[in-house]
C-alpha cells in the first residue's frame, strides 16, 4: 500500500521525471560487496578480536551493534528532514521519494535499536525496560513519532498534498531529534551508559577500532538498502506510468 501510494503520487502527469538515468557516484555492484566485506570484518572483530569489557564482560558486545544502529537511525531521520526541505523548496517529487525511503529505513533500524537495547538492558540491569531512564524513553518517543509518518501520508489521497504534508512532518520531526538528544544529554541522572562523549569518548584502542568498523558497516548497509528500496520505488513508478498508458490506449 505504501509503495503504491507513493508511486501513484510520483507518477502523476507533469511530475518531474525520476533521476533513474543519472549515473550513480558508486557503481551498483560495488556497494553490496563493500557492505558484505565490512559486515564480515565487523563481526570478526566483535566476536574474535576485541577484548571483554571489564565491567559487563562478554555481554557488552551488544554495544557494537546497538550504538551504530542508533547513530545511523537518528542520522537517517535528520537526513530525511533535509530531503524533505529540498522537496518543499524545489517541488521535485524525487526528493519526497528519497525522504520517504530514508525515514522508512531509519524506522526499521530503530526497531533493531529498541530490541537490541532491551536485550542488553535485561542482561545488564535485569529489566527489559526502565521507564525512568531518559535515553531509552526519548528514543522510544522518537520511534513512536515516526511511526505516525506513514499513517499520516496514506491518510491523504491527493498525492501533492500527501507529499507536502509528509515533508512538513519530516522536517518538524527531524528538528525534534537533535533537540531531544541534547535535552537527554543534559539530564542529571542516568543509567544508560555514556561511552561516547564530547571529549572523544572513553573507549580503549581496540574497542574504538571495532566500534568504528561496525559503524562503517552499518552505514554501508543502510546505503545499500536505501539504493535497493529507491530502485524498487522507481520501478513501481515506471509500472504505474506504463499501466496508465495501456489503459489510455485500451480506452482509445
Amino acid at each position: 500500500m505504501s509503495a503504491g501510494a507513493v508511486s501513484a503520487g510520483l507518477a502523476r502527469p507533469g511530475t518531474p521525471p525520476a533521476r533513474a538515468g543519472r549515473r550513480a557516484a558508486i557503481p551498483a555492484g560495488v556497494l553490496p560487496v563493500l557492505t558484505a566485506v565490512l559486515l564480515a570484518t565487523a563481526l570478526a572483530l566483535v566476536f574474535f578480536w576485541v577484548r571483554d569489557e571489564a565491567d559487563q564482560g562478554f555481554v557488552q558486545r551488544i554495544f557494537y551493534i546497538h550504538v551504530p544502529l542508533g547513530i545511523v537511525a537518528l542520522g537517517g531521520y535528520m537526513a530525511g528532514a533535509g530531503m524533505a526541505i529540498a522537496h518543499l523548496r524545489t517541488g521535485e517529487r524525487e526528493w519526497d521519494l528519497r525522504s520517504y525511503v530514508t525515514i522508512h529505513l531509519s524506522l526499521i533500524l530503530s526497531l533493531g535499536v529498541l530490541v537490541s537495547g532491551s536485550i542488553w538492558a535485561r542482561a545488564s540491569w535485569g529489566h527489559w525496560w526502565v521507564w525512568n531512564e531518559p535515553m531509552l524513553v526519548s528514543f522510544l518517543i522518537v520511534f513512536l513519532l515516526y511511526c505516525c509518518y506513514q499513517p499520516l501520508r496514506f491518510a491523504i489521497d491527493d498525492p501533492e498534498r500527501q507529499a507536502r504534508y509528509a515533508s512538513v512532518f519530516a522536517v518538524t520531526a527531524g528538528a525534534f531529534v537533535p533537540l531531544n538528544f541534547a535535552a537527554v544529554r543534559l539530564a542529571q541522572s542516568y543509567t544508560h551508559p555514556r561511552v561516547l562523549t564530547a571529549t572523544g569518548g572513553n573507549l580503549p584502542g581496540d574497542m574504538r577500532l571495532t566500534f568504528l568498523v561496525c559503524l562503517a558497516a552499518v552505514v554501508s548497509l543502510y546505503t545499500t538498502l536505501w539504493r535497493l528500496e529507491i530502485r524498487a520505488k522507481r520501478l513501481r513508478i515506471r509500472a504505474a506510468r506504463l499501466r496508465r498508458r495501456l489503459n489510455a490506449e485500451e480506452v482509445a
Binding site: 571483554d52 562478554f58 555481554v59 551488544i62 530490541v115 536485550i119 545488564s124 520501478l235 509500472a239
Partner: protein, 50 residues
Amino acid sequence: MAVPLHEAVRYVAGAYAVVFVLVVLYTTLITRRIGRVERDVQAMEERLGR
C-alpha cells in the same frame, strides 16, 4: 557485575540475531517486489510494442 559467559552468549547472539533477521526479511521482501514489478514492466512494454 558480569553475566556468566553461557548466559551472556545467549543475550549477545539474541541481539545480533534480531538485527540479522530484520535485515534479511527486509531485503527478501524488497528483492521479491523488485522481481515482480520488473516482470510486470517487461510485460507491459511488450504489449505497448516498445
